[in-house]
C-alpha cells in the first residue's frame, strides 16, 4: 500500500488444513498448554479458549497479548489461524512477510506435535481485521493485493480471489502456482 495509506496493524492469516486428517482437539489443547507453560521470555501467552462446543466455531485458541493462534473451524474450513493484535514492525510489506513466516512457524509446530494438523498451502487467506481503516472494496483490495504480491514475490506466481461482501473484513485468498509446505514459509518468505 502507498505511504499515505494506513499501516496494517491488525492482520490475520489462515492456512487451511488437509481435511482428510482428523484434528485431535484434546491434543491441540495439550500443545497450547505446553506453549503456555514454556519460557515467557520466548513467547508470551495468557490462556487458552476452548470453543469446540460450537459447530463451525473458532475451535481452540491460545491467546497472547500480541497474537492469537488457533485451530479454527469457522465456515466449516479447518485451518491454523494467526491473528495479529499488536502491529509488527516495519513497512506493510515487511509486516505481511512476518505474518506469513510467523503463521507458518506455528503451523509447523502443530504439524510436528502429531495432533492431526496437516497444513495445505495452496490457499493463504489474508484478512485485515480492521473495518474502520480498510473497507472491503475493490480499491482497497487492489492496494492490498499489490502489497501481497511484493511481499510474496519470491514465492512465484500468485493468483487472488476475494469475498466481495462489503460487510466482511478486507480479505484476499492467495493461490501460489506452486504450493509450498508450511516449513518452506516458516523461515521467511521463500527465496
Amino acid at each position: 500500500m502507498n505511504n499515505d495509506t494506513l499501516s496494517l496493524d491488525r492482520i490475520d492469516l489462515k492456512l487451511f488444513l488437509d481435511d482428510s486428517v482428523e484434528v485431535d482437539w484434546e491434543g491441540c489443547v495439550q500443545v497450547f498448554t505446553h506453549w503456555l507453560k514454556a519460557d515467557p521470555d520466548e513467547e508470551e501467552w495468557l490462556d487458552i479458549a476452548d470453543y469446540t462446543h460450537m459447530p463451525q466455531g473458532p475451535g481452540v485458541l491460545v491467546i497472547g497479548p500480541e497474537k492469537h493462534v488457533s485451530i479454527d473451524d469457522r465456515r466449516g474450513e479447518l485451518g491454523v489461524l494467526y491473528s495479529r493484535r499488536e502491529p509488527f514492525s516495519g513497512t506493510n510489506i515487511e509486516r505481511l512477510q512476518q505474518l506469513v513466516s510467523e503463521t507458518a512457524r506455528f503451523a509447523c509446530l502443530l504439524e510436528e506435535a502429531d495432533v492431526g494438523v496437516k497444513v495445505k498451502t495452496d490457499r493463504l487467506e489474508f484478512v485485515v481485521n480492521d473495518r474502520l481503516g480498510f473497507p472491503n472494496d475493490a480499491e482497497t483490495a487492489a492496494a492490498l493485493e499489490a502489497d501481497l504480491r511484493a511481499a510474496l514475490a519470491s514465492a512465484g506466481e500468485l493468483s487472488f480471489e476475494r469475498d466481495e461482501d462489503p460487510g466482511q473484513r478486507l480479505n484476499l485468498i492467495a493461490h501460489p502456482a506452486e504450493p509450498l509446505t508450511a516449513a518452506d514459509w516458516a523461515d521467511g518468505v521463500p527465496e
Binding site: 489443547v29 476452548d50 469446540t52 462446543h53 466455531g57 493484535r85 480492521d130 473495518r131 474502520l132
Partner: protein, 810 residues
C-alpha cells in the same frame, strides 16, 4: 473523535452518535490515556472503567467488555455491528449472558474506545453494564406476544432502563442493582422474585376502568445467600413506576451497607430493617421528590413500542415434514397470542455465537421478520412474529448456518456463567462441565427428562443461577496431599416457575470429573422413583436430602493424586488445577477465602432456617453450629490458622479472638453453648433462639473481619510509599536471620499469612528464613511478599522444598 475511519458506511454511522454520548466516549478515552500515563491511580480508574462496562479478566492484560441490551431487544443492524466488533476486538465470539446482554472476552483496553464508538453508532451502550449501578434491565422475552401476560411490559422496561441510566441518584450504591420485568405471575421467564426490583404486570379495576400497574416486588436476589423478593405493593399504578423506583434508589443509597460488600445488596437491607420499614422509607423519599416529566411522558407513547409482523399470518402445511424439523419445532417454537404467528428460539451452545453466525442470522431474520428479536435469559435468541407458514424455510435457513440445535430451555440447554474461562471469581470450570453435560443430554436417551433444567455457576455467586435449577452446581475445591481438585457443590430442587418461586438446597459436593456420573445416578433415581407427573423439586423434597446424599456419597471420594491425577485437572485443561491463575495472588486469595468462608457460614444459617420451617429442630441447631464454626474458621484463617475440627476451632478461636477482646464475648459464648448442648432436646422456641444467636455470632464475625480490612487499609503500604529518600529515616540493615518458619505442608494462603504475621513482629532490615513447598506455594508466596514490599533476598531449592530469605522492608 480519535478514530481513523476510511470506511464511509461506518464513518456515517459514527457521525450520527449524539453529542452527549460522543462526549462520554471522549471522557473515557481521556481517562484511559491518563491512566496509561500514570496520572490517575489504578483503583480510581478501575471503578471508572467498570461503570463503562470494562471488567478485568482473570488473565492479565485483557478485559471483558459487557454491553447493555435493555430487555434483550436487538435489531438486525445491531446484530451485524455486534458481530463485527466481536471479530475485530475480541475472540470472534459474542457471549449472551443471563441478563440478556452480551459479553466480549480478551479485549485490549486500548481497543475499548473504538469498540464503544462502533456500538454507540447503532445505539448500544456499555455504560453501567458493570459496577455498583443499575445493571441491564431484563424482561420476559415473550412480552407482548405471550398469551398469558397482562400487558406488554416492554415499554415500561425500556422507560425505566433509560430513566435510571446515568441518573444521578443511581450512581452511588454500595452494590449492584438488578431489575427484571415479568408479564405474568406464574411462568419462569421474568424471574422477578430474584431481583432487587421485580415489577409484575397487573390489571386492576379502578372506578370502573381497567388500570395498568404492577405487583411490585423488591429485595430478591441470588448470590451466595439467596433471598426471595418481598411485596412492596400489591398494585403500583403505572405512573408510579419511575418515581417509586427513584425513591428506592435513594433509600438504597442512603441506607444500604457500604463497608461490607458481601452484605451490601438491597436484599440485606430489607432483611435487616423489614419490608414495612423499607416501605416507609421509600414513601418518605417519594414525597420529597421533585416532579420529573419523564415519569409519565413515555406513557403517551406506549404504542411506539408495539411490534408488527413483516408478513401476513399463515398456517404451516403439515404434510411430509422432516423429523429433524418436527423435533426442533416441538422444542423451540411457541405459538403467539396472535393467530398465524409463532416465536422461535435459536439455541446457542453455552450462549455463544460466532461473528459469521450472528451476521448470517441477521440476514435470515430480515427475510422473515422486522426487528422483533430478543436475547433471552437462558442465553438464546428469540425471533418473534414469524408467520407460521414460513417456519420450515426459517428452520432450513438456520440449519444452513448451523444454528438449528433443538432443546431450548430443556435439559440440554445447560446454562453456565463464564467461570474460570475468564472471570476473576471463578473457582472451577462451569463452562467446561456445561459443555460435557450438554453433549451428553443431546442424546435421545435423555428425552424423558428433557423438561429438567441444569444450571452451573463457577463460584457461589450464582451468575449461573444454580439456585433456581432442578439440578444446580456451583464451583468449589478440595485439597488433598498438596494438590487441589476442582469440585462442584450440588444444589437441588430450585424452581424457575412463578418467577423463580423457590430456591434449591445444597446437598454436598462432588469432584468436577464425577459430576456427569452423579447426574446420571440422580436422573435414574428420578426415573425410577418419581410419581407420575411429579416435579423434580417435589421429588427431591419427598425422598429427602438424606437419600440424595447417600447416592452422592459414591461419587464424592477424591482419589490421591498419584492414584488418579485426572481428578486434579479441570474440564478441557491440560494443566493441573490450581485455585488461582497467575502468580502473586496470595493476598487476594486470602481475602477471597475468608469471604468465601463467611459466605458459607451465612448459607449454613440459611439452611438452618429452612429446616426450622420444616419443624426439624435438631437439624436446625446442627446447622447453626456449622455456621458458627465456619465463621470462626474464617476469622482464624486471617491468623494463618488452618481449620481442623470443631474442638480445635473453638479453642483457637477463644485464644485468638475472645481473649484478645476482638470478638464480643457474650456473642462468642453462643458458640460454646451449642457445642455443649444436647441438641436433640430442642423444641421450636429453642431452635428459633439458636438461629437468632447463631446469626448474631456470624454477623459479629463479619463485623470483625470488616474492621480488620479497614485497619489494613489505614496501614500505609510500604510498596506504595513515595517519600523523598532524604526525608526517610535510614533503615538500619541487620544482616542476620533472626527467625525461621518451617511451612512445609502448609497450603496457600496460610503459608503467606503466617510469614506476613511473623514479619510484622520483626524490625526493618531483619531477615526471616522460611521453607515452603514446590508448586503453588513457590509460585505465590514470594510474589505476594514482593507485592507487600518485602525483599526476597535469596531463593534456594532444597530437595522438594524451597528455602527463602526475606528482608523486612520499611
Amino acid at each position: 473523535m480519535s478514530l481513523t475511519v476510511r470506511n464511509a458506511d461506518i464513518a456515517s454511522k459514527i457521525a450520527s452518535i449524539p453529542p452527549e454520548i460522543e462526549r462520554e466516549l471522549n471522557v473515557f478515552e481521556i481517562e484511559l490515556d491518563r491512566f496509561q500515563n500514570d496520572d490517575i491511580p489504578e483503583n480510581i480508574f478501575t471503578e471508572f472503567r467498570l461503570r463503562h462496562g470494562v471488567y478485568g479478566q482473570r488473565q492479565d492484560g485483557v478485559q471483558m467488555i459487557r454491553i447493555k441490551i435493555p430487555f434483550g431487544g436487538v435489531t438486525t443492524e445491531q446484530m451485524e455491528v455486534l458481530a463485527d466488533v466481536s471479530e475485530e476486538y475480541a475472540d470472534g465470539v459474542s457471549h449472551i449472558t443471563t441478563r440478556q446482554d452480551i459479553q466480549y472476552h480478551f479485549v485490549k483496553i486500548s481497543d475499548a474506545p473504538a469498540l464503544m464508538r462502533r456500538l454507540a453508532s447503532v445505539g448500544i451502550t456499555t455504560r453501567e453494564a458493570c459496577g455498583n449501578v443499575v445493571r441491564n434491565v431484563t424482561a420476559c422475552p415473550e412480552a407482548g406476544v405471550c398469551a398469558d401476560d397482562a400487558f406488554d411490559v416492554t415499554p415500561y422496561a425500556k422507560a425505566l432502563a433509560n430513566f435510571l441510566l446515568r441518573h444521578p441518584e443511581a450512581q452511588n450504591f454500595g452494590r449492584k442493582f438488578k431489575i427484571a420485568f415479568s408479564g405474568c405471575e406464574d411462568k419462569a421467564c421474568g424471574l422477578a422474585n430474584m431481583h432487587d426490583i421485580g415489577p409484575i404486570a397487573a390489571l386492576k379495576e379502578v372506578d370502573g376502568e381497567m388500570k395498568r400497574g404492577f405487583r411490585f416486588l423488591v429485595g430478591g436476589g441470588l448470590g451466595a445467600v439467596p433471598h426471595q423478593a418481598k411485596v412492596l405493593y400489591d398494585f403500583l399504578p403505572e405512573e408510579e413506576l419511575l418515581p417509586v423506583s427513584q425513591a428506592i434508589a435513594r433509600v438504597f443509597t442512603q441506607h444500604g451497607e457500604r463497608k461490607r460488600r458481601m452484605k451490601a445488596r438491597m436484599k440485606f437491607l430489607i432483611a435487616k430493617i423489614g419490608i414495612d420499614e423499607f416501605r416507609r422509607l421509600v414513601e418518605e423519599e417519594r414525597e420529597k421528590l421533585d416532579f420529573d416529566p419523564r415519569w409519565t411522558e413515555y406513557l403517551n407513547h406506549l404504542k411506539d413500542s408495539e411490534e408488527s409482523p413483516l408478513k401476513p399470518p399463515s398456517t404451516l402445511d403439515e404434510t411430509d415434514l422432516p423429523d429433524d424439523f418436527l423435533r426442533w419445532k416441538e422444542r423451540n417454537v411457541k405459538p403467539q397470542r396472535e393467530e398465524g404467528y409463532v416465536s422461535a428460539q435459536v439455541t446457542l451452545p453455552l450462549g455463544d455465537i460466532t461473528a459469521d453466525q450472528f451476521r448470517d442470522l441477521a440476514a435470515v431474520c430480515r427475510k422473515y421478520v422486522k426487528d422483533t428479536i430478543r436475547l433471552t435469559v437462558p442465553q438464546n435468541i428469540l425471533v418473534r412474529w414469524l408467520s407460521e407458514g414460513d417456519l420450515l424455510d426459517f428452520y432450513n435457513d438456520l440449519k444452513a448456518i448451523h444454528l438449528d440445535d433443538f432443546g431450548t430451555e430443556g435439559i440440554s440447554d445447560v446454562l453456565a456463567c463464564p467461570g474460570t474461562d475468564s472471570c476473576k471469581l471463578g473457582i472451577s470450570s462451569s463452562r467446561g462441565l456445561a459443555a460435557v453435560l450438554r453433549e451428553k443430554f443431546l442424546d435421545e436417551s435423555y428425552d424423558d427428562v428433557r423438561h429438567l433444567s441444569v444450571k452451573i455457576s463457577g463460584c457461589p455467586n450464582s451468575c449461573g443461577q444454580h439456585h433456581i435449577a432442578d439440578i444446580g452446581f456451583f464451583g468449589s475445591i478440595m485439597r488433598k496431599g498438596g494438590h487441589v481438585a476442582p469440585h462442584f457443590q450440588v444444589v437441588l430442587g430450585g424452581q424457575q416457575q412463578g418467577n423463580a418461586q423457590s430456591f434449591g438446597l445444597a446437598v454436598g459436593k462432588v469432584p468436577s470429573k464425577q459430576a456427569p456420573a452423579f447426574v446420571d445416578r440422580l436422573l435414574d433415581l428420578y426415573r425410577a422413583q418419581a410419581e407420575e407427573g411429579e416435579a423434580f423439586a417435589s421429588f427431591v423434597e419427598r425422598i429427602g436430602v438424606q437419600t440424595v446424599k447417600e447416592n452422592l456419597s459414591e461419587f464424592n471420594d477424591l482419589p490421591e493424586f498419584d492414584d488418579d491425577d485426572s481428578f486434579y485437572f479441570d474440564w478441557g485443561q491440560a494443566r493441573e488445577f490450581s485455585l488461582q491463575s497467575g502468580t502473586g495472588e496470595c493476598a487476594g486469595e486470602l481475602v477471597d477465602l475468608v469471604e468465601f468462608m463467611l459466605t458459607e457460614a451465612d448459607r449454613w444459617l440459611y439452611e438452618a432456617a429452612l429446616r426450622f420451617e420444616k419443624d426439624l429442630y435438631e437439624a436446625t441447631a446442627l446447622h447453626t453450629l456449622q455456621g458458627m464454626q465456619r465463621a470462626a474458621d474464617a476469622l482464624l484463617t486471617t491468623k494463618g490458622i488452618q481449620q481442623k475440627d470443631l474442638q480445635t476451632t473453638a479453642a483457637d478461636f477463644k485464644r485468638e479472638f475472645v481473649e484478645t477482646a476482638q470478638f464480643w464475648a457474650p456473642f462468642a459464648e453462643f458458640f460454646d453453648k451449642y457445642i455443649e448442648m444436647d441438641k436433640s432436646a430442642l423444641n421450636e422456641e429453642g431452635a428459633h433462639i439458636a438461629i437468632e444467636e447463631a446469626t448474631l455470632f456470624v454477623e459479629q464475625a463479619h463485623e470483625v473481619y470488616g474492621r480488620m480490612q479497614i485497619q489494613a487499609e489505614k496501614k500505609p503500604r510500604t510498596a506504595a510509599k513515595k517519600a523523598p529518600k532524604a526525608a526517610a529515616k535510614p533503615a538500619e540493615k541487620v544482616e542476620e536471620i533472626v527467625d525461621s518458619l518451617d511451612l512445609k505442608g502448609v497450603a496457600c494462603p496460610y503459608n503467606y499469612v503466617r510469614t506476613k504475621l511473623r514479619m510484622e513482629q520483626m524490625n526493618v532490615g531483619e531477615l526471616l528464613e522460611i521453607t515452603i513447598d514446590d508448586g503453588e506455594p513457590i509460585r505465590n508466596v514470594p510474589a505476594s511478599l514482593k507485592n507487600d514490599g518485602q525483599e526476597v533476598v535469596d531463593t534456594k531449592k532444597i530437595g522438594s522444598h524451597y528455602r527463602l530469605i526475606i528482608r523486612k522492608a520499611e
